[in-house]
Structures are given as C-alpha cells and as structure tokens.
C-alpha cells in the first residue's frame, strides 16, 4: 500500500450459498485506489463488480479478506460505525439514482449533510453550492419527477459529494442515460477528477470506462486485466473519422 492509497482491498472473497449451490461472486480481489485517481472496473453483468463495489463501500461484508479506507480497516466495523463511515467517508452513485421522490433537488442533496450532523443552514448552503457545481442551480426547487434522467443523476452526484467523501463509488452511473446525458455525467466525472476526487466506478459502458486513469477488467469474480489508459494513444482522431490527408 502506498502512502497516497485511499482505498485498498486485499484478498477479497464473497460467497453466496453453500455446497453444490455455492457461488463465488468475488474471488480473490486486490485493489488500490490512490488519492485523486479514477479507477474503472469493467466486466459483463454478473461478473461480480457490483458486489465488489458494495463491499468496498461498506454496504456489504466480504466472506474473507480486508478493506481499508484511509488506513482504517472497515470490513470489521460494527454496524453503527459502519453506518457513520458510509455517511461521511463514502459517496455513492447508483444506476437508478435513488433520489427521494418527495424531496426537491436541493433537499435531496442537503439530506446527507443533515444526516451527518451538520446544521441546517450549513447543509443548505453546501447543497446549493453543489447543485451549482453540477450545473443545476436553476433546478434546485424541482422534484426529481420534473427532471430528466441526466439531471437526476447530476443531483445524485451532488448528493454523493455532500460530505466531501474520501472516495466516490459509482455503480453503472450512465446505465439509464441517453447519449447526451451520458456526456454530461462524463464531463462531471472529469471535473471531479481534476478537483482531485478519488473515484471508483464499475460499469459495462465503454464510454465511462474510457474516462478512467486505470481500467480493470473483471470476469467471474476476479480481475483478469489491468491497464493504464492515460497517454500512449497511437491513433489519430482524423483516421477514426475517415479523414484522408
């Protein structure tokens, strides 16, 4: 583990069922995410990537192995400590947004800060700032039902940032979005990356995987390939677009 490692996993395993029906959803995974790094885990549905993300964020416990978040081992924390850790140290972004339908955009965003014990005024100011950061300042008072899919996901991302988490964990964040909305979310992740936010995203969308510094390929519960995407492109855009000369 490096000094700048924010999130680390060692020998992670997750089994479901027993005997003949045993399913090894995660099978011996080691992972390090450094401060400010974007790591993408890509693989077909059922490869165990969502289970992995849940374990990394303390939503689920591994059968075996360790999870470390900023030098603190979290897989053995008691329920109460684990819940507190999830509220303050981790930001989650899900495919289905998981916004509260009866709350406005700004209320959805400030809720995490309120739950983490911040004063109402502080929480509201922070939520307003975050909505501005994701380009939705003018939608603060809208209910989720009045927002497009892309806008809802941007609200969810603002909410994930509400307590300045050590790491943002995203599970298929573009899974429900059209092409233009996907680009908005990609842009937002780029902005977060530039702001030094550590980000782990699991996806089968090549577009979001392509924004990562490092891409891990997962099959049948295990990592089978790891590659650095920054630098080293040999192709020219013009060739791809069919430009000759």
């Amino acid at each position: 583990m490096n000094n700048d490692t924010v999130l680390a996993a060692r020998g992670l395993r997750k089994d479901y069922g027993k005997g003949e029906a045993l399913v090894r959803a995660v099978d011996g995974v080691d992972l390090d995410a450094s401060q400010g790094e974007t790591v993408a885990v890509m693989g077909p549905s059922g490869c165990g990537k969502s289970t992995l993300l849940h374990i990394l964020g303390g939503l689920d416990r591994p059968t075996d192995g360790e999870v470390w978040l900023a030098d603190r081992r979290i897989d053995r924390l008691g329920e109460r400590d684990l819940a507190r850790m999830r509220r303050t140290d981790v930001g989650f972004v899900f495919q289905a947004f998981h916004l509260m339908d009866e709350l406005t955009a700004v209320e959805n965003v400030e809720l995490s800060a309120l739950l983490a014990g911040h004063a109402a005024r502080v929480a509201r100011r922070r939520a307003t700032d975050l909505l501005e950061r994701v380009g939705l300042a003018d939608r603060a008072g809208f209910l989720p039902s009045a927002l497009s899919g892309g806008q809802r996901q941007r609200v969810a991302i603002a909410r994930a940032l509400s307590n300045e988490p050590l790491v943002v964990l995203a599970d298929e964040p573009t899974g429900n979005l059209d092409s233009a909305s996907t680009l908005d979310v990609l842009q937002l992740f780029e902005d977060l990356h530039e702001a030094g936010q550590t980000l782990v995203v699991v996806t089968h969308d090549a577009r979001i995987a392509a924004t990562a510094d490092r891409l891990i390929t997962m099959r049948d519960g295990a990592f089978i390939d790891e590659t650095r995407l920054t630098g080293g492109t040999t192709g020219r855009l013009g060739d791809l677009a069919g430009m000759d000369g």
Binding site: L183, A210, T233, G235, L237, G242
Partner: protein, 173 residues
C-alpha cells in the same frame, strides 16, 4: 482530401484555396490540425486538370490569387456524390482474419489480441470524448466527434463478442 468535398464547397461560391481550407478547419475543429494544407492545393490542381473546376486569376494590390469556380461537369459530380450512399468501411475483415489465423497457426492467443485491441480503442475513445467535451454544445464539430464516439463504442461491442466467442471455443473446442 476527398475531391468531392472540395467540389461541394466550391459549389457554394467561387473560392480561394485558403478560404476552402479555413472552412474545412472550422468544420473539423481539433481534427482540422491533422489536415495537410498542401493536400488541399494538390487536390484543387487535380480537379482543375480533370475539368471539374476552372480557375480565374484575381489580382489584388498585394498578390495574385486563383479563384476556383465549378464547371458543369463538376456540378454533375457533386450531385452524384451527394446521392451516393457508400459508407466508409472499418477493417473488420482484416481483424477477424487475424484472430482466425493466429489461432489456427498457434502464433498468438486470440484473446490477447482482442485485449490489446480493446485497450487501444478505449484510449482512442478517451481522446475522442475529451475532444467532444471541449466543444460547445451543438457545434458542428461536436456532432462529428459524437459519430466517432458511437462508432468506437460499436467496435468495442464487437470486440466483446469476439472475446466471448473465442473464450467459448476454447472451453469446448
């Protein structure tokens, strides 16, 4: 440079070579930097030789420049080109045969070849997306880049299918 593109630009109005180049660069955004200006002038020369454009020399105070105008033959060619539904083809056959040959000859693991190709395409996707994000909404360049992105996505999906097929074949030969 595609001859017909230049013809179509000249069809809009009689133009200097540098005006055509500027219009192309504007439409291509970051890709315009890869455009070879010499190629534009060479192509204009070819078009003139084959009678699709004619040139007139316009004198200004500082210099003498050629203005290109479309001939009737050029007009006909532009019309044909606009109606043509040919689509630039990617090299799928070559890649497919590479996998088949590598496996047959035991030269390389097809899955290794697929992985290497995927990494390369993902890097290109990354470049294309970054370029797209740098463009303002609704610019003509953003539209071109979206085409590049969508095509790369399709290629990546095909690589997934290649991977699955070659994995299955290894399991039950």
């Amino acid at each position: 440079m595609n001859q017909e593109v230049l013809l179509a630009l000249v069809a809009k109005e009689p133009s200097h070579g540098y005006q055509l180049l500027a219009r192309l660069r504007q439409a291509l955004g970051p890709l315009g930097a890869e455009l070879n200006p010499g190629q534009v002038y060479v192509t204009l020369g070819r078009l003139e030789k084959s009678g699709l454009v004619a040139s007139e020399t316009a004198d200004t105070k500082r210099s003498t420049r050629k203005v290109y105008v479309l001939t009737p033959a050029g007009q006909e060619r532009v019309a044909e080109w606009l109606a043509d539904v040919n689509w630039p083809r990617p090299g799928l056959v070559e890649f497919h045969l590479k996998l088949v040959a590598a496996a047959a000859a035991g030269l390389a693991d097809p899955l290794t070849i697929v992985d290497a190709q995927r990494r390369e395409l993902l890097r290109r996707l990354r470049d294309a997306q970054r370029a797209a994000m740098a463009e303002p909404d609704r610019s003509e360049v953003a539209l071109l880049l979206e085409g590049v992105v969508l095509r790369l996505q399709a290629d990546l999906r095909w690589l997934e299918a290649c991977e699955k097929s070659w994995t299955d074949r290894r399991r039950d030969p």
